[in-house]
Subunit: 159 residues, 3 copies
């Protein structure tokens, strides 16, 4: 496989607008025939959380992070003009009216296009997130796995 045929994205941000940009670039690249790897770390992990509450054993601090962070793609705020969630609602309303693919739809598309989704194991440990709290069909690995992919890829972005 040619170097031109691989892309990687580090998704550090958990904002709706940046998450959408990540998946639009990733699915676009995969649709052009590239092998795409997305590495979710820190706040980016919130994009991968299941929407329903999953009971887990956690310490006090981990429980606080769990409660304060948005649970999944439907609950994310936007990076500017969020106004306590109003901005995110406005943006989703407009996107629906204009028939722009929603974030859950883009994530579904990513799965169909065989995009590799990796959740950063170290960040999960720090934020206290457990595997059963994240969506199915993803991998768990560390920065070395990401770097091995990035070394072989032409397009590498940090979002």
């Amino acid at each position: 496989m040619n170097k031109q045929d691989k892309s990687t994205l580090v998704v550090f941000s958990g904002d709706l607008d940046k998450a959408m940009a990540s998946f639009i670039i990733a699915t676009g690249s995969a649709a052009m025939g590239n092998k795409v790897t997305m590495f979710f770390t820190f706040w980016g992990l919130n994009i991968l959380r299941k929407e329903q509450y999953i009971p887990t054993k956690k310490g006090f601090m981990e429980r606080m992070f769990e409660k304060m962070m948005p649970r999944g793609a439907g609950k994310l705020g936007i990076s500017k003009m969020n106004f306590g969630g109003l901005g995110a609602k406005m943006m989703k309303y407009i996107m629906e009216k204009k028939n722009v693919a929603t974030l859950p739809q883009l994530m579904e598309l990513a799965k169909e296009l065989d995009i590799e989704i990796i959740a950063c194991a170290m960040s999960m440990d720090v934020l206290g997130l457990k595997e059963e709290e994240l969506v199915d069909g993803i991998k768990y690995a560390g920065v070395a796995t990401y770097l091995a992919e990035a070394d072989q890829a032409n397009l590498n972005l940090f979002i």
Copy 2:
């Protein structure tokens, strides 16, 4: 043309400091002989807005975004310590005193260096921005156009 000779930047942020970093890297790269493409998306589109008010037909939500978002390079805030615009004013004052090129000057330089400026058509649609509201001499295209350039480029950044 050699792969080493191309650069692309996705300008997602509409903050003054990040916009300056984008244009400093882009013009630096072009001055070294590279072909540079800048792809402006989401809040980054505000950098490209004309400063004067342009009358357009818009829906209510689009009008709200139009009013709340900064109109052009002269109105941007900074990403940290903005304090309602005071931080941006301080930074611009210091830059002028130290003879650092301003953002409008860097944008002029980008034009002279034949840097390709692309406004993301999908983001324009979502934010309700019309072509006549953006500066002249730019292109309008989608993520596929950006990805085709990025596939051929060595330096690809997301800002």
Copy 3:
């Protein structure tokens, strides 16, 4: 030296979480045998400040920036849920409990791995930071030096 064997990171952000991500990627890449260059610019320069107060001659505006910006790796906030520093304290507490390397430890490791640390001379001038205020063993250079490295590198990120 092969192109696959070089990485560069622009560290624009001065947030603790993004600084940690930068150094985790940089030290990981260096540990895999790559030559790594980190270019610190704008708020990223705060990561490199010495913790103690260094007396310098400065103008009024420069003094204001000096006072308002965090002094070194131990004083940084996090990019989300910082709550006036409480979030950063929580994150550092958890990381210590989980035996995750701290930012100062990662910076020490970066030095041992011969990672090249460059402070952006132009940003230092704008923010009024002097060489004696930054940690020892780093270089001072402009965007051209960064771009020369990036042109030779395979992995180039903007954080």
